[in-house]
């Protein structure tokens, strides 16, 4: 399994664990563990993006046909940039969303988090698209 796939999957497992902890906090009611009610979307995104989508990214790069034995430098940079932007964006979103009501820099962080995840998605789609073809 390529190193970047291992990174996607292991980080995905960490997000899964974080999501399960947040899920308990959300179910315990507003204010549980000192968390604001606005943390519910963060729980959903840790599961759907941090775990499921990231697991798919890692496994797809590993298992889809057409992966070269020696990937080019461009391919490596694209995938590691995708990994970094997806996770930085997700963590930044998780921190900024409950705090965005305070205004100021948190609003900028929240928008930047969204843009980072969007760029990560575009990088992954652009990298994977040519490998999705009929035999």
């Amino acid at each position: 399994m390529p190193l970047v796939s291992r990174a996607f999957i292991l980080t995905g497992l960490a997000h899964l664990l974080a999501a399960m902890v947040l899920g308990v906090a959300v179910a315990a009611g507003p204010g549980a563990l000192g968390l604001p009610p606005t943390v519910a979307p963060v729980y959903v995104h840790l599961l759907a993006v941090g775990w499921l989508t990231q697991l798919i990214f890692g496994v797809a790069h590993w298992m889809f046909p057409g992966r070269p034995r020696a990937p080019s430098m461009v391919s490596r940079v694209v995938l590691w940039a995708c990994y970094a932007l997806l996770n930085l964006g997700l963590v930044a979103r998780a921190v900024a969303e409950p705090l965005v009501g305070r205004g100021g820099g948190w609003r900028v962080v929240l928008v930047a988090a969204g843009v980072a995840q969007l760029i990560a998605v575009v990088l992954f789609v652009g990298h994977t698209w040519p490998r999705v073809r009929a035999r």
């Binding site: 759907a48 499921l52 989508t53 798919i56 889809f64 046909p65 979103r93 969303e97 965005v100 948190w106 609003r107 900028v108 929240l110 928008v111 988090a113 969204g114 843009v115 995840q117 969007l118 998605v121 575009v122 789609v125 994977t128 698209w129 999705v132 073809r133 009929a134 035999r135």
Partner: protein
Amino acid sequence: MPLLSVWAVRLALGYLTVGAVLGTLLLAARAAVLPTVFFRQLAAHIDVMLVGWLVQLAVGVGYWILPRVEGKRPRAALAVTAVALLNIGVPLAAAGGTAGIGAMVLAGRMAELAGALTFGAHAWTRVRYGGLVGRVQIAPDS
């Protein structure tokens, strides 16, 4: 990868991109950078990401890798129908949710349900009988 899987996976990647754009717009609205009218995209974001991306990718990859029966993918027409129904249902539900038209959302969700049922019928045969070479006979596509 069979042609149907190519279509389903590529459509799923397309929905992932659209869903990420919608999510970025929603976050910008949440940060008050964009007007609150963009919150109307929430239903579309959910449908596109959950069904258009995650479910459709699973359907595409499932059609490709689930065990074959006698070396073939029996009742392939069911899988083709499932992909078609999903791609009728997701845009309908997403557009209906954005426009606030309940009947469109209902129609879209019904198409998604029908897609799930038809793919389930296809996959059932392969999971139930796949790999049992020479021991079962499956009716051809009807």
